[in-house]
């Protein structure tokens, strides 16, 4: 049946009462009020779903994001918090033909930006020929002088860039800002896709939306090919877990199979960037940096940086490492540069810009300043050196039309006195796209972040992206820190699309082993193991203490007094039912774990956080005695939950060994110390029973020996029994087994110092008898265990 355009609109739109705003372009409804063809199938499908079904679908997407651990960091007044990812569940649909035009414009722009960066750090002809005012470079904090004259390995400055684009009222696309420093969002785009496809799995399967994997695969292959030798590793360089997009760094590294490193992991030797691993220094061929360039080298760039690598600039000068993107490339993000790009494009590329930037005037020039002043009502006035789009620069830009007459005068004065630091930009109205708010579709302003990667076949544009959706009608509310949300972008083809995946295409399956473990990660795993075990040890002692306290109701009772003294030496205060030092200890475990979050299943991470939250809640709410005993049991169960998840799910390789050695070592120390204190001849009454309880060996003892405890049987079971997983000997045996399989366990056919020490310690205890154990002997083993930890640090973690 033939339907007219108007009919198509009339039938489909009212389904959800969607009405675009007057004078504003809309992604779903065209200028004539009809639904754009690319949306029809999606909208029709949406129309068949009722509120309950939709709620279920959205919940599916949210659950995926929560389970995958997708978060972003919000900088608050009191504390920075991880926030749930704000997904706007309705994707933005764009027609493939239109996207081809967008891509063409952005490829040209990537080429143009490359030419500008190469010139600024190279021949400097743009300035010499009057195409770029020298002040915009000379006063620019992103002009990194130590990089001037440094030619990037491989010849290119830019490899991965993004653009913020928006659609104006006339339907055409504009570039709002460029990201060349360390663009974020590509990983979030992937996660948005997975989540949105979960919500609309049926519709997605029927829609010919371009897949994203091919784009990432092409970039990964290009980076791999750009290494100077196959031994070289590729790494994502992150500023660390305090960064707002750390999740994404970890995600991209995992998705593409790259190492995730921090500046501290790297060292520069002989002009070559190396990663410190537990198997020694290994060469790095490509660094995909996610930290701002000025922090990258405290020696030659920002001297206050604590997250950089001294000597990195020297390595770049030597051309021994590729960096994505070149240090200093951030200079072309400068807002005032937009004013000069059209002319530079004409002069350097010999063409007009295919996709224009939002019209921009640098007020450091008299004519331009006068123009901005004369048209102040349609201008946004903002900082010339800002690198963010006007709607996302923390309110540092002023919308001319919102000014009262009196305020306008002061703006004029501002322009006259500080013009060189200001730009005027045409106040653009962004298009709207449907968002699901309060049970219906409503139009919300939108901008798109689009990604471009340099591949062996030239620049490729990701067929999709990351749509930022405003929280209200106000364009300024697009910023996520101000309540904006993110949506998936479907580039829809009329034909079936290629379903690429990142799995290797060759049929012969090869099993790859994980690469070398960075020393810092090993250090964090080792200490995570120690902190977790230390928390468990403290919890077990405290539970036993409070159990007896409930019985005697007298902290002066000899055994309680004795154990209180013991705990005191460990900085555990029994006056607090859930001691502060225990909370600190769990926090340390969380901190170590968060630094290596990419190595954990999200479930493990959630379990650890749950433990931390519960302990904090108990800290203020628990009474001594029975209440505390119950609380310790809950915490022990949660801790066992975490340990179990790690035990069940963690890949048995080097990282696992460091975690395990940390646990065995701490457990061995805990038990050695406790035996030294509580198994002596002069220990108070009930000490042996308490020992068995803390060592979780009451049942075993009863089965193997008798109901009554004796010094020798308890010593045998908790110190020397190789089959009791709580005994000291068991820990030493396990350490020995793990050490055997560490890298460099043998050096030139000889045992490494660490291996030798572990063997010696194990043998020393294995030959002991219960009668021979004394607090002096326990003291000696305690010292030796501490020493073993130090040797491990020197051998693998330095």
């Amino acid at each position: 049946m033939k339907t007219t355009k108007a009919e198509a609109g009339r039938i489909e739109v009212p389904a959800h009462g969607y009405a675009p705003l007057p004078g504003v372009a809309d992604e779903m409804i065209d200028a004539d009020g009809a639904v754009r063809p690319v949306w029809r199938h999606f909208l029709a499908a949406l129309g068949r779903m009722d509120q309950t079904e939709l709620a279920g679908r959205f919940a599916r997407a949210d659950r995926y994001l929560r389970d995958a651990g997708v978060f972003y960091r919000s900088y608050g007044k009191e504390a920075d918090v991880d926030r749930a990812w704000p997904l706007s569940h309705i994707p933005v649909l764009i027609d493939e033909a239109e996207w081809t035009g967008v891509s063409r414009g952005l490829v040209q722009r990537a080429e143009l930006l490359e030419a500008v960066v190469a010139d600024i750090y190279g021949r400097n002809e743009l300035v010499a020929n009057g195409l770029l005012p020298p002040a915009l470079v000379g006063e620019n904090a992103e002009f990194l002088r130590p990089l001037v004259g440094v030619k990037p390995a491989g010849g290119h400055f830019l490899h991965f860039v993004s653009f913020e684009i928006g659609r104006g009222p006339d339907g055409n696309w504009w570039v709002l800002s460029d990201r060349t420093q360390a663009p974020s969002g590509a990983g979030f785009a992937l996660e948005n896709r997975v989540a949105t496809a979960r919500a609309f799995s049926d519709v997605y399967a029927e829609t010919h939306a371009h897949r994203l994997a091919g784009f990432f695969g092409a970039f990964r292959d290009t980076l791999q090919a750009s290494r100077q030798s196959p031994e070289e590793r590729i790494a994502v360089l992150t500023p660390g877990l305090a960064n707002e997009t750390y999740f994404e760094h970890a995600y991209i590294a995992r998705y593409l199979g790259f190492m995730l490193l921090e500046g501290e992991d790297l060292t520069v030797v002989g002009g070559k960037v190396m990663v410190r691993t537990v198997a020694g220094l290994k060469p790095i061929g490509v660094l995909w940096r996610r930290l701002d360039a000025s922090f990258a080298d405290p020696l030659e760039l920002d001297q206050n940086s604590h997250i950089g690598t001294p000597g990195l600039v020297e390595a770049l000068r030597a051309g021994s490492v590729s960096i994505v993107n070149a240090l200093g490339a951030g200079i072309v993000e400068t807002r005032a540069m937009l004013a000069f790009l059209p002319n530079i494009c004409r002069q350097v590329l010999g063409e007009e810009q295919i996709m224009p930037s939002v019209a921009t005037w640098w007020c450091g020039q008299e004519t331009e300043r006068a123009h901005v002043a004369a048209h102040i009502g349609r201008m946004v006035i903002g900082p010339a050196y800002s690198t963010r789009p006007f709607f996302d620069d923390e309110g540092r830009s002023v919308l001319g039309s919102t000014l009262r007459e009196t305020a306008r005068d002061s703006i004029m004065e501002w322009l006259a006195s500080d013009g060189a630091h200001l730009v005027g930009q045409e106040a653009v109205t962004l298009s709207t796209t449907p968002a699901w708010v309060g049970g219906r579709l409503v139009p919300r302003p939108m901008s798109l972040r689009v990604f471009a990667a340099r591949t062996r076949d030239g620049w490729q544009i990701m067929p999709g992206g990351f749509a930022r959706i405003g929280a209200g009608d106000d364009v300024a509310a697009i910023a996520m820190q101000r309540g904006g949300s993110a949506a998936d972008v479907w580039i829809v083809s009329p034909r079936p699309v290629e379903r690429s995946t990142l799995l290797p295409a060759d049929r012969n399956f090869t099993r790859t082993m994980p690469g070398s473990l960075p020393s810092r990660a090993a250090d964090n795993l080792f200490w995570l193991g120690r902190y977790i075990e230390r928390a468990e040890g403290a919890l077990r002692i405290l539970r036993a203490w409070h159990g007896r306290y409930a019985e005697y109701a007298d902290p002066g009772q000899p055994l309680l007094k004795d154990v209180t003294r013991y705990l005191d030496a460990l900085d555990i205060d029994t006056a607090e039912p859930v001691p502060t030092s225990l909370i600190r200890n769990i926090d340390s475990a969380v901190f170590s774990a968060s630094a290596i979050r990419d190595r954990f299943s999200p479930d493990g991470w959630l379990a650890l956080n749950d433990l931390s939250k519960t302990a904090r809640r108990f800290h203020t709410s628990i009474e001594p005695g029975d209440d505390a005993t119950r609380a310790m049991t809950v915490l022990l169960r949660k801790l066992a939950g975490f340990a179990g998840l790690v035990h069940e799910n963690m890949y048995r390789f080097t990282g696992w060994r460091f975690l395990s050695i940390g646990r065995y070592l701490e457990r061995g120390l805990h038990m050695t110390r406790l035996l030294g204190h509580l198994s002596g001849e002069d220990a108070p009454d009930g000490a042996l029973d308490m020992l068995l309880e803390i060592g979780d060996s009451v049942m075993t003892h009863r089965r193997r020996y008798a109901v009554a405890t004796a010094r020798l049987t308890v010593t045998d079971l908790l110190a020397l029994d190789p089959l009791n997983p709580r005994s000291v000997l068991y820990q030493l045996n396990e350490i020995k087994n793990e050490v055997e399989q560490l890298p460099n366990a043998f050096v030139n056919g000889q045992m490494s110092p660490f291996y030798r020490e572990a063997m010696r310690l194990h043998a020393g205890l294995a030959v002991m008898t219960p009668e021979g154990m004394s607090d002096r002997i326990y003291g000696r083993f305690e010292t030796e265990l501490e020493r073993l930890s130090d040797i491990l640090g020197q051998t693998y973690l330095g």
């Binding site: 020929n129 002040a135 006063e139 002088r145 001297q303």
Partner: protein, 295 residues
């Protein structure tokens, strides 16, 4: 004047450091018409694992050194013979303060001597409204650049007390300005911020100053120290000129230039990143010895 300059910078570490990387800028510059490095050498003890000598963006000679093995001390020694020209008193042809912007905008280059590097904020010198107000009260728009800079230099010298205890190497210009105390680094930083606030491009000069012993006293060996002063741009025709706010004088044949930069961060004699824990002590000894020339 011909000088022999000896400099020793020593570090003593409480606990040995396992490695470290340093950048050293202590060798005097050659500047046509100003000074000439006749001969110079930099030695480092213990011997570094790697060493590379080159010039930085501002054309200062620098050495980058790397240690890979543990060491508990480090001595950097520089010896140089430098010929410094005696400047001839020149008439002031610099443009008025109000007319400089045009000259700056017309300088279409970013070479090391370009004024554009010296107009805005730099790593150690953000703009400071208090110092701007101070500068504006001293200068009138009709003054020439040179007259304005000379007036500010004299005023800082008069208002500030030289005090080696009041500030440290990390003191900000704002702190030093509020204290009205400090050493050559503080005097120079405040003066640079003041000049930039008036639109005059200004930079930091590190170097050596020959000290004349008090009458009747002998020159003490090693008693000299590294010094710092200011240079500023007087427009296309006049170029760069130097003033020493610590001594309220134009630089003369007693000022030996080691490095040019935007502020101390660009020219610090030694920048280092160490691998290790614990404290260290630093010592510095400088001798600037005039060499008698036999004709």
């Amino acid at each position: 004047m011909l000088y022999d300059v000896n400099l020793t910078i020593g570090y003593r570490y409480d606990t040995p450091v396992s490695g470290g990387r340093h950048m050293v800028r202590v060798l005097p510059l050659s500047i046509p018409g100003r000074q000439r490095l006749v001969a110079g050498a930099l030695s480092v003890d213990p011997a570094p694992g790697e060493r590379a000598d080159r010039t930085d963006f501002f054309d200062n000679p620098m050495s980058s050194i790397l240690f890979r093995s543990p060491h508990d001390r480090l001595d950097i020694r520089m010896q140089a013979r430098v010929h410094v020209e005696t400047p001839e008193p020149a008439a002031d042809f610099s443009p008025p303060v109000s007319g400089l912007a045009e000259d700056i905008a017309g300088y279409w280059s970013l070479d090391a001597g370009a004024p554009h590097h010296y107009t805005g904020a730099s790593p150690r010198l953000p703009a400071c409204p208090e110092i701007s107000d101070y500068a504006r009260a001293i200068v009138t728009p009709d003054m020439t650049i040179r007259a304005a800079a000379t007036a500010i230099c004299a005023r800082i010298h008069a208002d500030f007390t030289y005090d080696t205890k009041a500030t440290s190497v990390d003191t900000t210009p704002r702190e030093a300005f509020r204290l009205k105390r400090g050493v050559c680094q503080d005097f120079s930083h405040v003066m640079i911020v003041a000049l930039r606030s008036l639109g005059i491009p200004a930079g930091y000069v590190s170097g050596f100053l020959r000290t004349i012993p008090p009458p009747g006293k002998e020159r003490l060996e090693g008693a000299d120290a590294m010094h710092a002063w200011v240079r500023f741009w007087c427009g296309r025709v006049n170029g760069w000129m130097e003033l020493d706010p610590t001594n309220d004088m134009p630089s003369g044949s007693d000022h030996i230039v080691v490095a040019h930069g935007r502020d101390y961060a660009d020219v610090a004699p030694v920048i280092g990143v160490l691998k290790g824990y614990g404290q260290h002590k630093t010592t510095q000894a400088v001798d600037v010895i005039p060499v008698r020339q036999t004709a």
